[in-house]
Subunit: 254 residues, 4 copies
C-alpha cells in the first residue's frame, strides 16, 4: 500500500452535506466531539480512509478480530434541515508533514465529490496549564460571512493566535483552495489529555450550528468526575515553596 | 534500489500453502518461532525480499562474505497433510510506516500469487514487566471460523487489547483486503529481549495447527538456562526499599 | 497536495530582476532583512510557494482567517536603476533534506523563468556565543567578479568557513547550476534568537548593492532595546567562579 | 532536485577500472584512505554525485565560493599495471535508508557503465574503546577467490562479525547483484574520530593490492602527533576510583 486511499459505499445520496472533522489532537477535543456526535445522531458508515502515513499497526477488537488504524466518515440526514451531516473521526493522524498534506487534501477533494457545502473542523486550544471550568470556544473561518455568524453565536473570532496543527488546520487551507467554506472551532483546554469539558463547550456551539438535538449528559458525567478527581489531587498535592497553591488555579483564566 | 523487491525461484510447486510469519519483534517471539520451525522442518529457500526501507547495512558472515539484511521465505511440503508450509523469517522490519505498509502488502500479494490459503503471524504480547513461567497464548483472527478453532485449541481469543505493530499486525489487515484468512498468535512475554519460553508456548499451539512434528527440546534448554540465570539475579539483587522482593515476581501473573 | 507548488500572478512585467532571499534561520537575520526590505520598499505580492515539506500547520490571523504556512515572493521596481527587485520571505523552511533540495531548485527555476539576473541570499553567521555590537558581514559568491565587488563594499570574502544550511546555501548551488550569478551575505551573530543588529549590518551593505533608500531607524530601536536588556542582564548575572565576568564579553570579538 | 544524479565527463577512456570507495564513516578511515590515495596518485576528477538525500548544505571555500556537499569520483591510470584506478570520496553519506539504497546502487551501476572490474570499499571496524597502536585489517569479499587473495596478503577474513553500515556495506551487496567482484577492507579502530593509524594500516594493504607507490609519511606524522597527544592526556587524566589506569589501555588489544 503506497498511497492514501478512501474506500466508500456508492449509491448513498447526500443532500448539501456539512462535514464535521473530529480527529485526535489537543485535549482529545476533536475526537470527543466526533465520536459523541456520531453516536448521538446514530450516523452510518460512509467511507474509510487508509494511509501508509498512519501508524503501522492494527487494533485488537473485543470480537477477536482486528482493524487497521484509519479515519472514518459517517453520515446522517438531518430531518429538521433536510441536509446531510458527515462526520469524520479516526484513530490517528499522519505523523509526517508529507502525509498530512496528502491526506488532508484527499479528504477535502472526497468531500467535494460528495457535493460538500461546508466544513467545520474541531480542535483544542491550549493557552493555559490549568484546568478550565468554563472553557471558551475560539474560532477561525475562511470566509467573512461565516466569521460573523460564528461571532453572533458566541464563538470568539480573531482572538486566538499561533498555529493550528494537522487536519483541523490543513483542511481549512485545502477547503479554501477547493472553494468550500470552512471554519475551525477550538475549545479552550489546559493540562488534561482528555478534556470532556472543553469538548462539551464546543458541542454546545455545534448543536446550534447544525440544528440538531444531542444529549450532553454523558459529557457532563465525565466533566463531574474529572473535577472531583482534580479537587482530590489539589488536597493531596504538597504546596510548592514560594508559590502558594491558590484555588484560582482551577478556575476560569485569562 | 528504490522499491521493495521479492526475488524468487520459479517452477517450485506448492500445494495449498499456509504462511507462518516469524519476524523480529517483542521478545523475539516471532523470530524464535520462525527460525526454529524452518530448521526443524528442514525448509528450503523460496524467495528473498529486499527493501530500501530496511536498515542500510550488510551482515558479515563466518565465510568472509556478506549478506544484505532481508526477509526470507522458506517452504516445505507437509507429508501428513499433503499441504505446503511457507515460513517467513528475517533480520529486520521496516523502520517507517510508509515502508511497513509497502512491504507487508507486497508479502501478502506475493503469497496470494503462490496460491496461498491461510496466514499465521507470530508475535509477543507484552503485558507484564515480569518473567512468565507459564505464558499464555493470545490470538486474533480475521474470520469467525478461525477464532473458534483457535479457541478450541486453547488460544485466548478476544482477551487481548491494544495494538499489534508491524508485520504481525499489518499482514492481517492486508490478508483481509486480499481475501486470505489470517490470524496472529501472540505469546505472553515480559521483560526479556529473547523469550524462548513464550516462543515455546506459541510453538506448541502451532504444531497442532500445522499438524507437524517439531522437537522443542532446544527451546526447553534455553528456557531452563534463562530461569537459572533469573534465579541467580534474584539472589544477587538488592531489595528495593519499601517494595519487598517476593518470589511471586517470577511466577504466573494476571 | 504531494508536490511543492508556486502560485503566481501572470502578466506582471519585471525588468532584469534581482532576488533577495530572506527566510527564517540563524539569528532570524534572513527574515528580518527580508521583511524590512519588503515593508520599506512597499513591495507587492508576486507569488506564493506551498510545499508538503513545510510544517503541517496553518497560522491564525487577526482577521479571524487562516493562512497555510508558506514562502512568499514580493516585487518592486527600482526607480533609480530601472530594475526590478524580488524579495522572498516566509514562515518556514523545509524540515527534511529531500524537501530542501526540491523547494530550493524550484525557487531558482521559477526566478529564472521570470528573467532573473542575480540572487542574494541572506543569513546569520554564528561564530561566537556573545552579543556582537559591531557585527561584520561575511560573503560568498558563485562568481569571482561578484566576490571582488562585494569585497570593495566591505564584505569579508573568503574569511568564513564551514557550512551554509538551507535556502541561503542551496539556492547558491542551484543558481550556479542554472547559470544565475548568486551570493550569500551573512551577518555575524551570537547568542540571540532575533539579532536586529546583525540584520542591520547586512541591510547597510544591501542598500548600496541594490541602490535603494531604506530607513533603518526601526532596526536601530530594536538594537538599542536589546543592548539595554543585555546590560541589565549583565548586572544581574552572578559571576561564575574562576571565570571573571568582564565587560569585553559584550564587545567586538575575534 | 528530486533524484540522485551523477554528472560526469564524457570521452574519458578507462582500462579495466578498479574502484576504491573512501567515504566518511567510523574513525574517518574511509575518508582518510580515499583522500590520501587521490592526492598521492594525483588522480583527476571524473564525476560528481549530488543527492537530495545528502545534507541540505553548501560548504564555504577559501576562494570565497561554495560547493554543494557531494560524492566525487577521481581516476588515474596505473602505469605499472596498465589499468585504471577510480577513487570515490566525498563530504557525506545519505542520512536515510531510502537514500542509502538509492545512491549506492547508482554508484555501482555507474561504475559498471565505465567497464568496472572490481570494487574495494574502505571502512573502520570498531571493536574497542581504546586506541590501537598496531591495528589489524579485517576483510569481507563477495567471492571466494578474492577472500583467499586478501588472506594471503594478511587481511583477516571471516574474523569480523556484525553489520557494515552505509556505502562500505551496501556497495558490496549491489556489486554482487550487478556481478562485479567486491571486497571491504576495515581498519581496526577505537575511540578516535579521525584514526590515521588505522587508515595507514589499510593503506599498506591497498598499496600492494593496487600495485601503486604511495608515500605514507604524512600519515605517519598524524599518527605520531595523535600518540603524543594521547600520552599527554594519559598523564593529565585523574585516575578513576577502583579502575587503575594502566599503560595497557594504549596498547594492542584482543
Amino acid at each position: 500500500m503506497e498511497k492514501t486511499t478512501i474506500y466508500y459505499k456508492k449509491n448513498i445520496k447526500l443532500k448539501d452535506p456539512i462535514l464535521i472533522v473530529g480527529l485526535p489532537g489537543i485535549g482529545a477535543v476533536g475526537s470527543l466531539v466526533g465520536e459523541h456526535l456520531k453516536t448521538s445522531l446514530n450516523a452510518k458508515k460512509l467511507a474509510t480512509l487508509h494511509s501508509p502515513h498512519f501508524l503501522h499497526q492494527v487494533l485488537m477488537l473485543k470480537s477477536g478480530g482486528v482493524r487497521l488504524v484509519n479515519n472514518r466518515f459517517y453520515y446522517v440526514n438531518n430531518k429538521k434541515t433536510k441536509k446531510s451531516i458527515v462526520i469524520l473521526t479516526g484513530d490517528v493522524q499522519a505523523g509526517s508533514p508529507e502525509g498530512q498534506y496528502e491526506i488532508n487534501e484527499k479528504i477535502v477533494k472526497f468531500f467535494k465529490s460528495l457535493g460538500g457545502k461546508k466544513i467545520y473542523t474541531i480542535g483544542g486550544y491550549n493557552i493555559t496549564s490549568h484546568y478550565t471550568q468554563n472553557p471558551r470556544v475560539f474560532g477561525v473561518a475562511t470566509e467573512k460571512k461565516e466569521r460573523k455568524e460564528l461571532a453572533k453565536g458566541g464563538v470568539l473570532i480573531g482572538q486566538a493566535a499561533g498555529a493550528i496543527w494537522g487536519s483541523a488546520g490543513l483542511i481549512l487551507a485545502f477547503a479554501k483552495k477547493h472553494k468550500i467554506p470552512a471554519a475551525c472551532l477550538m475549545g479552550e483546554t489546559g493540562m488534561l489529555e482528555i478534556d470532556a469539558n472543553s469538548a462539551k463547550a464546543v458541542m454546545e456551539k455545534l448543536i446550534k450550528i447544525l440544528n440538531v438535538e444531542v444529549d450532553l449528559s454523558s459529557m457532563d458525567k465525565i466533566k463531574a468526575e474529572t473535577e472531583k478527581m482534580l479537587k482530590e489531587l489539589e488536597k493531596a498535592a504538597p504546596q510548592p515553596q514560594g508559590e502558594p497553591h491558590s484555588p484560582s488555579t482551577l478556575s476560569y483564566i485569562r
